[in-house]
Symmetry: D2
Subunit: 129 residues, 4 copies
Amino acid sequence: MKKNIEIKIRGYHLDFYGHVNNARYLEFLEEARWEAYGTVINSDFFKKNGISFIVVNININYRIPATIDQNIIIESSIKKVGNKSITVYQNIILKETGKTTADADVTCVLIDKAGKPVAITEELKDMFC
Amino acid sequence: MKKNIEIKIRGYHLDFYGHVNNARYLEFLEEARWEAYGTVINSDFFKKNGISFIVVNININYRIPATIDQNIIIESSIKKVGNKSITVYQNIILKETGKTTADADVTCVLIDKAGKPVAITEELKDMFC
Amino acid sequence: MKKNIEIKIRGYHLDFYGHVNNARYLEFLEEARWEAYGTVINSDFFKKNGISFIVVNININYRIPATIDQNIIIESSIKKVGNKSITVYQNIILKETGKTTADADVTCVLIDKAGKPVAITEELKDMFC
Amino acid sequence: MKKNIEIKIRGYHLDFYGHVNNARYLEFLEEARWEAYGTVINSDFFKKNGISFIVVNININYRIPATIDQNIIIESSIKKVGNKSITVYQNIILKETGKTTADADVTCVLIDKAGKPVAITEELKDMFC
């Protein structure tokens, strides 16, 4: 069970339509992933083995607009672990109503210093889940 | 056939990894859609009928990092027109090599003043294609 | 005495140089102003009188780079109240060392519905200080 | 005489107020500086001597809001060359009216590999002016 984060929507998050801009949502997702998995990413194990991760796909649904002064909660959880990729499901909820404003599958691969994909072992899997 | 756009990658587009940040790509895509379809969106037909559009899904693949001083070209084309949605395929190419740095399907719906989805008639379809 | 805010620097805040980008600092400052003065700006008094504020000048010094995983604290305080403008001093401190990474004077004017400047009365001054 | 740049204002440049957000202006200024001085910054002379530059102060006036579908032109010129700093004046003009939407003094210092300020010699001065 990973930490959720809460963000208050400000004027500078919005765009012409008065809603959170779709690029900004990706920053919110990245913020939430660092909060949920930063400890793993910055762990000695990762550093020692020169492992970093890269995002290879984001599939995001924009469901209900979010606007100024609303609070959103971002939940992050591991959806799927493959041999070489991990998919994180992130759900962005309007705090007041509990409804999803946007949700996304974010697929990452781990790479070594040479940029080669790293196999997701049970040990690695356990660190994320 | 719609207009492509070209963007030169600057230092402020990058993040910690020295690559264009994944949120920034969505701004590039939005810029390219305005260039390709802005004339339609701002047309009298749209204004008269109070039609606007909203993005409901973005599915983006990050394939090869883009970095400072590279030029990227963004191509936009209609991939699929449904009864109530239009999917634009956007391909972001590194100009020097012709390789795709990222590509995305962006699905939009048209809505009327009341926020109700508008059926994509042949007339509307022709305006985009 | 107004509320300070704390932000953890993430990879997406940085640019090519590996430091927080200078545009991003302005978002941090805006976030801090909303936290410090949002209650006033959103007060019934402001709403009833149709008052909003606009930033007319930002004078920011970039003193020491801030980078990934550092925590910054942003203090906001009223520096000067004129007849028609308010200057907020904002100091961004590296939490670990207490040193200033950047600081800024941000000058705002209050405007009415017609966009005309509103005189800063004692009543208004008291709301901010 | 340096190259000006032109940018078309898009929906994602705006914020809650329907105007270009004040942080975004700093990205526009950075874009314009790269266009005007990128050739110098990326020159062999700079590379050979390990010189880079950092922005130490931005003093920006927000004069008239800029909004969607307007075109802005950004002019950059050297305002002042000191012993250890260069101040660039950047004027952002609404193309249609010729009026200034925002203008800024941007002060930079050149630093060597060790992060020490580099004296601005006549040779360096000539490269920028």
